[in-house]
């Protein structure tokens, strides 16, 4: 199922089904297409910090 992100005139962003039936009432009510929000980055596993040893 294709989806698309739409933004209401008040600023609410919603992911909806990309069909004419779903989009029409939203677009008539003033919703506009917006890019999909960037995916939030996965939390990275903490690596143990290796202490750099100064070469002598």
């Amino acid at each position: 199922m294709q989806t698309v992100h739409m933004r209401s005139p008040e600023g609410e962003v919603k992911e909806v089904e990309a069909t004419t039936e779903t989009l029409t009432p939203l677009m008539v009510a003033g919703w506009h297409q917006v890019p999909a929000p960037a995916a939030s980055p996965e939390p990275l596993a903490q690596k143990p910090v290796a202490l750099a040893m100064e070469e002598k």
């Binding site: 005139p9 990309a18 004419t20 506009h32």
Partner: protein
């Protein structure tokens, strides 16, 4: 000297970022046009004949006034690409989905919620004859908008059975030479009347059932009725004032169609009973190319009895009513090209 056949035309399928900022070449396609006239630039001069104090009534001086750019027609066989372009630029509220083919869902923008107010997207128009060092014509008109379109469907063979013409306007701003190298002529995916897969107006299905062979022709049109765009600060070109905006006025969406009359035809009763219903018109070439016009609530205002090539017909004038939830009309177009009006 040059033959008009040498005229090459290209225009932005992508929208300009602002009315005075031209399309870049990556967002310009080259297309053929059945209108054989180039887009004329018409600078207008004025004189001082109306001013007294000269000792006579005759003019003595010329002044640069403004660019009065005439509307220009793009007349084409209907294709998925061109219909997507025409509907996007004439109506303004576009949602693009898919990853090839691409689906464009388009409704008329409303001033209250349109991000550019009463203005529609703008595009640039390039016309060239022998571009290069000794060009006969090489210019790019900046800040063009779609004023109106007309979609005509006829029961004739071939490409001429489905035509779309678009009337465009422009500000008067231009660059010459254009600085654009036009790509090869694109090959649009065209429709013809045989590809109509849905044709139901106000509850009457003209593709199947008792009314299946009734339909003769249809003409749908859109008019943005732009207001003149001259205002303080609208800009100038060559010392002539140019337009700085095209704001839609009272827009008009008209649909007329002709059907054969037969026993039990319900068009007339729909009219006098004030019956309303949706109207669906779809042309589908293949899975990648289709055009669908969904009129949300149509009634009939005129049903005029006549004759078309010896057959008794009714010419119906539709009234397209605005539905509080679904609006006036929704265009859904599937085409292989992305980036139209983006």
């Amino acid at each position: 000297m040059a033959n008009i056949n040498e005229l090459m035309e290209g225009w932005g399928f992508g929208k300009q970022t602002a009315i005075g900022t031209a399309n870049t070449s990556t967002a310009i396609w080259r297309q053929t046009n059945l209108n054989t006239k180039p887009w004329a630039k018409v600078p207008v001069n004025e004189d001082d004949r109306a001013e007294i104090g000269k000792g006579h009534e005759f003019p003595t001086q010329l002044f640069r006034s403004h660019y009065n750019m005439p509307p220009f027609e793009l007349s084409k066989y209907a294709s998925s690409e061109f219909l997507a372009w025409a509907m996007c630029f004439s109506m303004g509220n576009v949602t693009l989905t898919g990853s090839g083919p691409y689906t464009y869902v388009i409704v008329p923008a409303l001033g209250a919620t349109n991000t550019t107010g009463l203005e529609l997207p703008y595009f640039s128009f390039v016309q060239q004859i022998r571009p290069g060092g000794s060009a006969v014509l090489d210019e790019m008109l900046v800040g063009c908008a779609v004023k109106s379109w007309k979609l005509s469907i006829k029961n004739s063979p071939g490409r001429a059975s489905a035509m779309c013409s678009v009337e465009c306007v422009t500000t008067g701003q231009y660059t010459s030479p254009s600085g654009i190298t036009l790509p090869a002529v694109s090959t649009p995916h065209e429709f013809n009347a045989g590809m109509i897969t849905a044709l139901t107006f106000n509850g009457i299905n003209y593709l199947s059932g008792g009314s299946a062979k009734q339909f003769v022709s249809m003409e749908a049109s859109w008019e943005n009725n732009f207001r003149p765009g001259f205002f303080p600060g609208s800009g100038s070109q060559d010392g002539y004032q140019i337009q700085g905006r095209f704001e839609w006025g009272d827009r008009a969406f008209a649909v007329q169609f002709v059907v054969r009359v037969q026993a039990g035809s319900t068009e007339y009763s729909n009219l006098i009973n004030l019956t309303t219903g949706t109207a669906t018109f779809t042309m589908a070439r293949d899975a990648n190319n289709s055009f669908s016009m969904l009129i949300q609530k149509m009634g009939f205002s005129v049903a005029e009895l006549g004759n078309t090539e010896g057959i008794v017909t009714l010419q119906i004038t539709g009234v397209q009513l605005y539905d509080a939830t679904n609006g006036l009309v929704t265009m859904t177009i599937i085409t292989p090209l992305t980036g139209i009006c983006q």
